[in-house]
Subunit: 402 residues, 2 copies
């Protein structure tokens, strides 16, 4: 037993937050207020910090421990004196039985490799990470990666959670997705809930996690006026579907790629079509996914929040304003100060899954977002695109998912 | 047979739009483009105009017929030369077999009384009207009112439809709700669909119609910062529900009525809670209502559009800015130039249904909107309110609806 565990109630849960970016820091703050409040948790919250040297020459972890603030990723917010920054990953995780993972998703495989065999056997995990790893054999959810690599159960927490708003204690909601163990889910709910952060649990890990991932793709669409160009295709496809047996409707599309400035109706339509594709995609990947999950904070609310003002939106706006001439990578570097733009990489990963499984035509919004992001879709391509006959049998077969 | 029907293909459908406000005029424009296009419709679209004398001294219907514009409710937009304004209600409806109702909902009972027995027996109706009539025996949907009073089938059309955006042909979607006859639904879809207005049909009249009605109540919530005051109550209620068997969570609510300026998370949370109450309320009233209807344009998309910029939002904003000192009636008259603010009256009607059936505690958002609108809910009342123990058995019993 580690020295710090002496003289303690033996069953207290110890929490470590793996990650200390913007959202990770806010998560630590939420958790730290609850570990002080509830006797079932050990007061101290350990937070693994990927060490950086600040312009002042100081180490980030040292500054966090001295000032109680993450001066780089969450300046101006006190995390709680019981938050201890720790740059040593092995040391940070070894005593914890509650592990909160909140890093960029591309780091998770490396982190798992590093800590496997070094964590408590009774540890439980929760992932706040949005994104998935796509491999040859198919998509791999982060919660699955954690369970497979570390041999521990993993819940997820997603929701309408702009970190900076929660940091200043504006009312928000979130959703915990769990697999079987409802008691564990309730423990996570208790650890995160505060009067301004309302958390509910649903038994649908994959649904909740995919919501958190896929909404970033839709946010790019809603932020990107260029996507107006895609709507004719979408419209024609579905219209033909409805009236395939009816000769009255022509296919002339003159006039409806004119307006590039979206109205609120159009934005709402894109969000709705996006939510529908999120639901359809999730259910095609995992038959266990529940429709009602998309009514939770992780679904419709997170989608709205992200489309109204997330970082994907910010970059997509800039992308559209520059007429696609500057890449998303460039804009990301300029606008996000080191944060990652998840929608672009997720769009690519989703595209790979769709392409691999022959589902591209079922998901015109997801597909088009990726093709615009990589610059493969010039305006003129839309017209040719919209002339393709949709694969009716495929679409018909998928009606249950919509 | 009326003289104007001579020398025609006998089976052509004749359309009359009953109503000529902002949305009615846009509907006439959409329809007029399709009656010209499809041979199954008679070209002419008759539009009943509630006659008004304009400041110039001219009659509104005469100006519409001379200029082809509804200069009062949709200035600057040509309706189509085949739209004929008619101030005589009996004359306007008598030859039509497709009746489109789009008036303020409080006019519908009088209109039905006036035209009963004067319409074609084979007439089909569609209602674009948002709102319901609440009577002693319970709520009465407008589509039901039309069916009962006129003895004809009635579909509904609802969706994310800010009229002025559709008028300038920005891309939008809408949902037709139908009862049994899918062919009729498809005929309505064909009559309304244009390349910039995508309509789909679902077999759920009540669900679609209630969406169109109830979203106005939520929009007041999302537009009204005062509603931040209600969230503590909502939160406590649900938190207690989750952890009733767990003594760890206290009920102190200090600090979370501080921030009155909403973040995007909060707005999204209110929209989500609102959508949930819309769904729960609809399903309690009509067991036939389908969850998936709330994913259609009439559900989530219309809610988003209305919360982002509808007229309810506009007035609620002004109401909140004035600290509740000016009534909604006053603001409506000032801001909406004769248009009606439906959210306030719908909130009242919903409240009456909830109160009558003992459901008030199940719908904290709907209930609170009404109590704020009528000035019954001063900030201090919230604290007392939140101390009430929720009726757990009732809430538990209703879990299936959420």
């Amino acid at each position: 037993m580690a020295p710090s565990l002496e003289n303690e109630v033996p069953n207290k849960s110890r929490v470590t937050v793996v990650g200390s970016g913007n959202w990770g820091s806010v998560a630590a703050k939420l958790i730290a207020s609850n570990t002080l409040k509830f006797p079932s948790f050990h007061d101290e919250v350990r937070m693994w910090v990927f060490e950086e040297t600040l312009p002042s020459g100081e180490k980030l972890s040292e500054v966090i421990n001295r000032t109680n603030e993450n001066v780089k990723y969450l300046p101006g917010i006190k995390l709680g004196k019981n938050v201890v920054a720790d740059p040593d990953l092995d040391h940070a995780v070894r005593d914890a039985n509650m592990l909160v993972f909140v890093t960029p998703h591309q780091f998770m495989e490396g982190i798992c490799r590093k800590i496997v065999g070094k964590i408590r056997e009774d540890a439980e995990a929760i992932s706040l990470i949005k994104g998935m790893e796509v491999k040859m054999e198919g998509p791999c959810m982060i919660s699955t990666l954690i369970t497979e690599q570390l041999g521990i159960n993993c819940c997820v927490l997603m929701g309408a959670n702009i970190a900076n708003e929660i940091a200043v204690e504006k009312f928000s909601e979130a959703t915990v997705g769990y697999r079987q163990n409802k008691e564990i889910a309730e423990k996570w709910v208790r650890l995160f809930s505060t009067p301004y952060f309302m958390v509910t649990a649903v038994q649908d890990v994959e649904g909740v996690e995919l919501c958190g991932t896929l909404k970033n793709v839709v946010a790019i669409a809603a932020g990107c006026d260029l996507l107006m160009l895609f709507l004719p295709f979408y419209f024609l496809k579905h219209f033909q579907l409805l009236f395939l047996s009816n000769g009255e409707f022509g296919t002339d599309s003159t006039g409806f790629v004119d307006g590039l400035e979206m109205g609120n109706n159009t934005k709402a339509a894109i969000m709705r079509i996006g939510l529908r594709e999120m639901k359809a995609f999730s259910k095609l990947l995992f038959s266990s996914v529940k429709d009602n999950t998309f009514f939770e904070s992780c679904g419709v609310a997170d989608l709205i929040t992200t489309c109204l003002g997330g970082r994907n939106r910010k970059c997509a706006d800039a992308f559209a304003r520059n007429g696609g001439k500057r890449s998303f990578d460039e804009l990301e570097a300029e606008l996000l100060q080191g944060q990652k733009l998840q929608g672009v990489s997720t769009a690519k990963e989703v595209y790979e899954v769709l392409n691999h499984r022959g589902w591209l035509e079922l998901f015109p919004l997801f597909t088009t977002v990726h093709e615009i992001c990589i610059g493969h879709l010039p305006p003129s391509a839309i017209v040719e695109y919209s002339e393709h006959t949709p694969k009716f049998s495929l679409l018909e077969g998928s009606a249950q998912f919509y």
